[in-house]
């Protein structure tokens, strides 16, 4: 296969492609799921194929196939040229790519213990222990799972790049739904416990302790009083902020949104090139960074799928919007320096598009107890439930799984029904402190693109405090 894809790229150039690349991707996934104390299934999946991309007559064409053999590869190349030529018939300007030196090398996830090598009975035993932690008087549905992912991919381009990456990820999830007559069902879950790491990450998670905490949250939320509907001080936990950063900073800084490549589905942005260095995105406490080099990050790699080496760049600097996530094409189209490569494809069957890498809220210097001491009367929002944003990533609405009262710096009992709606710059403008207890979260399935591509991304955050957030309460 390795010579075959180099041959494919060579053939594309011989047929007149001004640029060509070919990617082999092989993915493996193994998961164990326990529901209500019983093993629901042990699942193993594998997927492998080749994607070939050409620029011909100034336009992109792409085709992917999972069929083996030279005929299938040649067929894919033919299809890529047909699609490029069809696209060219609609275009005025040719596609241009920002320059990047040819890359050679290998990237490999550092592993403590290979998660695929952990015996299934050991995984089942952990999940049954976690399931026991989820049991409670009203816990109607209990689910727990562990998963291992391995991706091996090689990219060869017509510009001399030839890189291979071996990426391993580990993940776990626990979820409980508490149901009681006369009360709204209460769910507590976290599907974002993933890291580019081995089984040692699963052990660090303390799945059993986490399960007990989630059960306690769900049971307490069932009987909790409704929160008060009013503007109040809100402290968001890192788990919550990871998603808020993803939705309100990561997505609007994707450069393909500026070019309207995503306008028909995912939408555009409110952060335009003229705003760089000028638009106030948030308060001076708010800085956000995109970093594809972060150890353990789900958005960490050696090279993106354009062959751009992993980099780090600031997106928001002390409250001011400063940068974008870019691909070679979008950087060239916008006349931007290639400050970060973030062209990524979910699999061999997908065209690389601009995706988040690890996009994080930078930590502050205050301790978490110091941050809490500044709250006379407020709410701690620990985990998001539903979330919804408009097509420019301005208006957003989040509801919560678990919310607790803060009084005079102390965390008290649960309340329920908490949601809030805001505009992105207004909300981040209310941030008056970020703590130093930064932690990294990993998402498996950021959804974008047509056809849909689910992407791994990482997000770090610490507890942060926001003043006068208008809380909406739904009974």
């Amino acid at each position: 296969m390795s010579d075959a894809i180099a041959g494919l790229v060579h053939a594309a150039v011989a047929r007149g492609a001004s640029y060509a690349d070919a990617r082999t991707v092989e993915r493996e996934h193994e998961a164990v799921t326990v529901r209500d104390g019983e093993v629901e299934a042990v699942t193993r999946t594998a997927d492998r194929g080749v994607g070939v991309r050409v620029i011909h007559r100034g336009a992109w064409g792409f085709a992917g196939t999972d069929r083996p053999g030279e005929d299938a590869l040649r067929g894919a190349l033919d299809e890529a040229f047909r699609r490029a030529d069809a696209a060219a018939s609609t275009r005025g300007r040719p596609v241009e790519l920002a320059a990047v030196p040819a890359q050679r090398g290998e990237y490999r996830t550092p592993l403590g213990r290979d998660p695929f090598a952990v015996p299934v009975p050991e995984r089942v035993a952990l999940l049954r222990a976690a399931d026991a932690g989820l049991r409670g008087p009203n816990a109607r549905v209990r689910r727990s799972s562990v998963a291992a992912y391995r991706t091996t991919k090689r990219l060869v381009t017509s510009e001399g790049t030839d890189v291979t990456q071996h990426i391993v990820e580990s993940g776990a999830g626990v979820a409980v739904t508490a149901v009681k007559a006369g009360a709204k069902p209460a769910q507590r879950y976290d599907g974002r416990l993933t890291r580019q790491a081995g089984w040692e990450f699963i052990e660090e998670l303390d799945l059993v302790g986490r399960a007990r905490r989630y059960r306690d949250d769900a049971e307490a939320t069932l009987d909790a009083p409704l929160a008060a509907e009013r503007p109040t001080t809100v402290v968001l936990a890192p788990e919550f902020l990871a998603l808020l950063v993803h939705e309100s900073c990561g997505h609007p800084t994707e450069a393909d949104r500026v070019l309207e490549h995503e306008v028909a589905f995912a939408g555009t942005t409110f952060l335009w090139p003229r705003d760089r260095g000028a638009l106030r995105y948030g308060s001076e406490h708010v800085s956000m960074t995109a970093d594809a080099t972060l150890p353990g990050g789900m958005g960490t790699f050696g090279w993106d799928d354009d062959g751009v080496p992993a980099m780090r760049t600031r997106l928001v600097d002390r409250g001011v919007f400063t940068g974008y996530l870019t691909s070679r094409e979008t950087a060239a189209a916008l006349g931007l320096p290639l400050a970060i490569g973030s062209a990524r494809a979910e699999g061999w069957q997908h065209f690389p598009i601009v995706r988040m890498v690890n996009v994080s809220l930078d930590p502050g210097t205050a301790s978490y107890p110091e941050l809490l001491r500044g709250v006379a009367d407020g709410l701690l929002l620990e985990a998001p439930a539903s979330y919804s944003l408009d097509d420019k990533r301005q208006n957003f609405h989040f509801s919560t799984q678990a919310a607790r009262v803060i009084r005079n710096g102390e965390i008290e009992g649960h309340v329920r029904g908490v949601a809030f709606q805001s505009l992105t710059p207004d909300f981040w403008g209310r941030c008056d402190l970020v703590a130093d207890d930064w932690e990294l979260h990993g998402f498996l399935s950021c959804a974008k693109g047509e056809p849909l591509q689910l992407m791994r991304v990482g997000h770090g955050a610490a507890h942060a405090r926001f003043r006068d957030v208008p809380i909406e309460v739904r009974g």
Partner: protein
């Protein structure tokens, strides 16, 4: 895009199972997709993919093992079954295991269109050029997608199930934008490329974009409203996900839990799961090989039932209705993916004429549910939100944030228009997998809780 056909696609599954022994099932799904995306009147991404997924389920002493791969070759299928068997041997017995499906006659598949399967990349680009030229002629720009798919599904198991069905899909979407910040949306969805009408799609999107200027912000509150088909499909999605399956009923999360036979919404609302309706996009059996049945979900406002796969049927002492879903996407427990909502004969003019002061909603963006038990949806409107006064569109509105229970919304249906094939925002790009035959509606009350900036 070429069809493999039953011999080449189902045959290998049956042959592999003959040698497998024990209890086993193979499901294969092949999808050839050609998706041409355009923006600013030009194609910017043009991708084709040919991908196969094969899933083996093997049961050993009540324990279930699952393995997935991409090949139909005999040796690869043997390896896949072995992998699933090994997984089952490492697993533990599942006391709720319902067993594999027994053979049963399903209807003939009829969602395959040979012309669509043969359509070229140039035909897709030509349709886009037609939309783009119409937009450009009005000083506007167009973006969207032309999508063709040919899929084949096959299921076989050791009890004798052997089912095969092909299907095509053709989908043209157009978002037309103006320099004044206006936008308008239109789309056609069918199993046949010949049913897509680029000129009509362009004209409809342009008409909306042209009217979308000098937007005003609307005060939050309750308003009369006309929801077009795409907006209705979005609301139906949340009914499906939160309340129409055996799993949600069993878990006590469904709005139907403890309320079957009771009134849950208004008498003008009826909803069925109906993959057998020839107007929809569906194959006649599910991934377990069970023939799909038409299921009454809500009739004239009364809760009637839910869909089941074999697992939820076992849980609740029912029979599978043929609604096992793609296990890569949904947990066991059933999935209602072909919804048919009762329509009426009201024209667009009649729907609007009934509005004293209200809102016309074309579609929604990035919706979610803050209250699953009530099937409450929140999301912002986009690409055609207008104020309607005394039956006339009087001005464009900034996108609005809507939040309301589907049951409350449909309790207030005043008028229904004719049904049309529509997909919600999530399903339109494959994140979801729901297809609706649904009408536009005029409702007495819709709740808007906020607004995007102008």
């Amino acid at each position: 895009m070429s069809l493999l056909g039953p011999e080449a696609f189902l045959g290998p599954l049956e042959r592999a199972l003959r040698d497998a022994g024990g209890e086993a099932e193979l499901w294969a799904h092949r999808r050839r997709s050609a998706i041409t995306r355009y923006a600013k009147n030009e194609v910017h991404q043009n991708a084709a993919a040919d991908e196969t997924y094969v899933q083996a389920r093997v049961v050993v002493s009540g324990a279930v093992g699952i393995a997935g791969g991409t090949s139909l070759d005999a040796a690869d299928l043997r390896a896949l079954l072995s992998s699933a068997r090994a997984a089952a041997e490492l697993s533990r017995p599942n006391p709720d295991w319902p067993g594999f499906a027994e053979p049963a006659a399903a209807r003939e598949p009829r969602a395959l269109d040979a012309t669509t399967a043969r359509a070229s990349a140039q035909a897709q680009a030509d349709a886009i050029r037609s939309v783009a030229e119409a937009a450009r002629a009005r000083g506007m720009r167009a973006a969207g997608t032309h999508q063709l798919e040919l899929s084949e599904d096959a299921v076989a198991n050791t009890r004798g199930v052997a089912a095969y069905a092909p299907m095509t899909m053709a989908y043209l979407r157009a978002l037309v934008l103006t320099d004044a910040g206006g936008s308008g949306w239109a789309e056609d969805l069918s199993s046949r490329i010949d049913a897509l009408d680029p000129a009509s799609v362009a004209a409809r999107a342009i008409e909306k974009a042209a009217a979308d200027h000098d937007r005003a912000r609307l005060e939050p509150g309750e308003y009369e409203a006309v929801f077009e088909e795409l907006a209705v499909a979005e609301v139906l999605r949340f009914l499906s996900l939160t309340g129409l399956t055996g799993q949600t009923l069993r878990d006590g999360r469904s709005f139907m839990a403890g309320r079957l036979g009771e009134r849950v919404t208004g008498p003008a609302f009826s909803l069925w799961e109906d993959a057998l309706d020839p107007r929809t996009l569906a194959i006649p059996f599910d991934v377990e090989g069970t023939p799909k049945r038409r299921v009454a979900l809500v009739e004239r406002g009364l809760a009637r039932g839910v869909v089941h796969d074999r697992q939820s049927a076992k849980w609740l002492g029912a029979e599978s209705t043929g609604h096992a879903a793609d296990p890569r996407r949904y947990a066991p427990g059933g999935h209602a993916g072909n919804l048919t909502m009762a329509g009426g004969d009201a024209t667009r003019e009649r729907l609007l004429a009934g509005v004293a002061r209200g809102v016309l909603v074309t579609r929604f963006h990035y919706t979610n549910t803050p209250d699953p038990k009530r099937a409450t949806m929140t999301g912002t409107t986009r690409n055609g939100t207008f104020l309607v006064e005394h039956g006339e569109i009087t001005r464009a509105l900034a996108n609005l944030r809507y939040e309301m229970s589907a049951l409350d919304l449909f309790a207030g249906i005043d008028l229904l228009g004719p049904q049309r094939l529509a997909r919600d925002w999530w399903s339109s790009n494959g994140m979801g997998s729901i297809v609706c035959l649904c009408p536009p509606v005029k409702v007495a009350r819709a709740t808007f809780i906020g607004s995007s900036p102008l």
